[in-house]
């Protein structure tokens, strides 16, 4: 119940300010065959807000954020991104994908293109940016993620942590308003997790709207405005990280937290 009130309060506060909420999910439902993977999801993310989504595997976290840029299609409910409703209309989808950057668990860099080409492809062809300008922009972001010297290399020549930082730079080159992170550190060796998290913290400090699926509770504490806990396709609890972690209201979150903490 508290979650609904919380959601409505946020919705109202988002409506009061001049800037519309960056993302609104309203009663979103999704099935994979008979499997009900998202159940009545309600979530509003205001501009500049950093949301961390956590939960056990199979809880629908990835599916939820993949619905936001329509890598998955929801079957019921309404999703609004940057004031545009997601529908079958291809033009609105293009508009949304231009504004939403995504970072994947397995990096998904294009292996046949150099790092620089990975970063400039979409700005040149989707944003119609002149090549020179796109390259300058790419170098700026590569410098910001601290790997400008790798620009001429191919993804296969980089370490996992470096590849993920390139993937972040690649997404940023489209100058998105919203960034989605789908377990960005789960495929990394432990010694590389920090370099990627540092990059994300730096990004959060620029005021980017972020939704991040992760199990990195340290990161959640450090940057999240709100943590959303999902289990079995539902949002079970959400709130500020400190409050949520120190005083879980539900058994499911308590169990999850105990398992995570044991793991660490």
């Amino acid at each position: 119940m508290s979650e609904t009130i919380d959601h409505e309060a946020r919705f109202a506060s988002a409506m009061r300010t001049d800037t519309p909420p960056a993302i609104v999910l309203q009663d979103v439902n999704k099935w994979f065959g008979a499997l009900h993977v998202l159940r009545d999801i309600n979530l509003t993310v205001s501009t500049g807000e950093r949301v961390v989504v956590c939960g056990p595997s199979g809880s629908g976290k990835s599916t939820m954020i993949r619905c936001i840029n329509r890598l998955e299609q929801h079957q019921q409910g309404k999703i609004m991104v940057d004031g545009i409703e997601l529908s079958d209309d291809l033009r609105s989808l293009d508009a949304i994908r231009r504004e939403v950057g995504m970072v994947f668990q397995s990096f998904n860099l294009f292996p046949h293109l150099t790092i620089l080409e990975n970063c400039t492809l979409a700005p040149i062809w989707v944003r119609r940016m002149p090549k020179k300008e796109a390259e300058e922009l790419a170098m700026e972001y590569l410098t910001r993620v601290r790997i400008p010297e790798q620009a001429k290399k191919y993804p296969g020549q980089l370490s996992g942590g470096q590849q993920q930082r390139v993937a972040i730079a690649r997404a940023l080159c489209m100058k998105p308003k919203i960034m989605l992170f789908d377990e960005p550190t789960s495929a990394l060796d432990p010694e590389m997790i920090k370099e990627v998290l540092d990059t994300m913290v730096m990004l959060a400090e620029t005021g980017m709207t972020m939704i991040c699926v992760t199990h990195e509770m340290g990161f959640a504490r450090q940057v999240a405005d709100r943590v959303v806990f999902m289990d079995r396709g539902e949002i079970v609890e959400s709130g500020e990280p400190e409050a949520l972690f120190s005083d879980p209201k539900t058994d499911r979150l308590r169990l999850f937290l105990s398992q995570i903490l044991r793991g660490h």
């Binding site: 890598l71 294009f110 046949h112 062809w125 296969g156």
Partner: protein, 380 residues
């Protein structure tokens, strides 16, 4: 503390690199390990070695030492008595000397043979230019259009003071090159579209592509050619006639397209889903995603089977002989119909085979280089 000393010890050990044991490297060691490792291996090596040497010597004797290179002319008819005497022990290359122009250019008017010769040279030039990666851009399109137009003008004539040569008189190597070049040039793009269509979400397009591939693949090329040459004209309205070569060309293109489509589809399927998703998430359109991300990777992966199909298909063009088109192989067969030259098939087939080999080997070698160059990003 013990850790430190241990590290120091390993560091010292690493500091002096040791050479590999001598016994496992070098030619002698390789021979010993691979050819003479046991008495049975030694026996097999010696027996096979003996056969190889004997056969090579026999071939050299037949092809060079005992061979006859020219025969005297008896009026208009070559006197092949000397050749008949050495049948079985020596080659009669005189048949090639005498008949090479017929084999290469078929029944094309003799005094106009410079035209098909130039056409072959143009085709080879076109292959070389197209193979160079520095030309892999829009420049290739006008180059192809201009070259193919010039080739058409040269073959047909009828303009610019060239005498008209009807298609029925074309033959030999130009026919083989025309069928395979046009065949591949059209079949390859068709194959890409069909392969993409087979993975389409639109059921109509998908059905159509599946139907095409399964139908064409389920029928032998010979029956396709028969249909193109015999049945197809029956469906045409009275008085309308489509060139026989063109009909064969279409049949060959459709046939190659179906096979290539499956090769391309295999490449599309090996790409991880993440590549599609990353391209979509960046906002690339379907054609941008396909053209920049999917196809470049998928086609690189299938270079070996693609070239395999190309080579097979280049040789398959020789099947047009059954509908009476005079390609290189048919011209070779026809060359030895003349009584004086009857029975010298081996020499002619070796000659024709060598021409096929040159083209196929060039394709194969080029594909190996291409594979190495294009897959550089896979190496660290």
């Amino acid at each position: 503390m013990s850790d430190v000393t241990l590290n120091a010890a390993t560091a010292n050990a690493e500091a002096a690199p040791r050479t590999a044991p001598v016994a496992t490297t070098g030619a002698a060691a390789w021979l010993r390990a691979n050819l003479f490792s046991s008495w049975i291996n030694t026996a097999v090596t010696l027996a096979l070695g003996y056969l190889v040497v004997r056969w090579t010597m026999g071939f050299i004797d037949w092809a060079f030492v005992n061979a006859i290179w020219t025969v005297p002319m008896n009026g208009n008819v070559p006197d092949t008595a000397a050749c008949r005497e050495i049948r079985g022990t020596g080659a009669c290359w005189a048949v090639i000397e005498e008949k090479h122009r017929f084999i290469l250019f078929g029944t094309y008017p003799y005094e106009e043979h410079w035209r098909p010769l130039l056409v072959c040279a143009l085709f080879i030039g076109l292959y070389i230019v197209s193979a160079m990666r520095r030309f892999w851009n829009w420049v290739l399109v006008p180059i192809w259009i201009v070259t193919l137009t010039v080739i058409g003008v040269l073959m047909w004539g009828g303009v610019l003071g060239l005498s008209y040569v009807p298609q029925e008189r074309w033959g030999g190597l130009p026919i083989t090159l025309i069928l395979s070049t046009f065949g591949l040039a059209f079949a390859f793009p068709l194959a890409i579209l069909v392969a993409l269509g087979r993975r389409s979400r639109l059921p109509a397009i998908k059905m159509l592509c599946v139907l095409y591939v399964e139908l064409v693949r389920g029928v032998p090329l010979i029956s396709l050619l028969f249909m193109a040459s015999v049945m197809f004209p029956l469906f045409l309205p009275e008085g309308m006639n489509i060139d026989k070569l063109l009909r064969a060309q279409v049949a060959i293109t459709l046939f190659a397209g179906a096979y290539l489509a499956e090769v391309v589809r295999a490449g599309l399927q090996t790409l991880p889903r993440g590549q599609y998703e990353a391209a979509e998430a960046l906002g690339l359109s379907y054609w941008q995603k396909t053209g920049f991300i999917i196809l470049p990777q998928a086609l690189r992966l299938v270079i070996p089977p693609l070239v395999n199909t190309f080579i097979g298909f280049f040789k398959d063009t020789s099947l047009v002989l059954i509908i009476g088109i005079f390609d290189l192989l048919t011209a070779g067969k026809t060359a030895i119909v003349e009584p004086a030259w009857q029975g010298f098939g081996v020499e002619v087939y070796v000659f024709v085979g060598a021409i096929y080999l040159v083209f196929c080997f060039a394709m194969s070698k080029y594909s190996q280089d291409l594979e190495r160059d294009l897959n550089q990003h896979r190496r660290r």
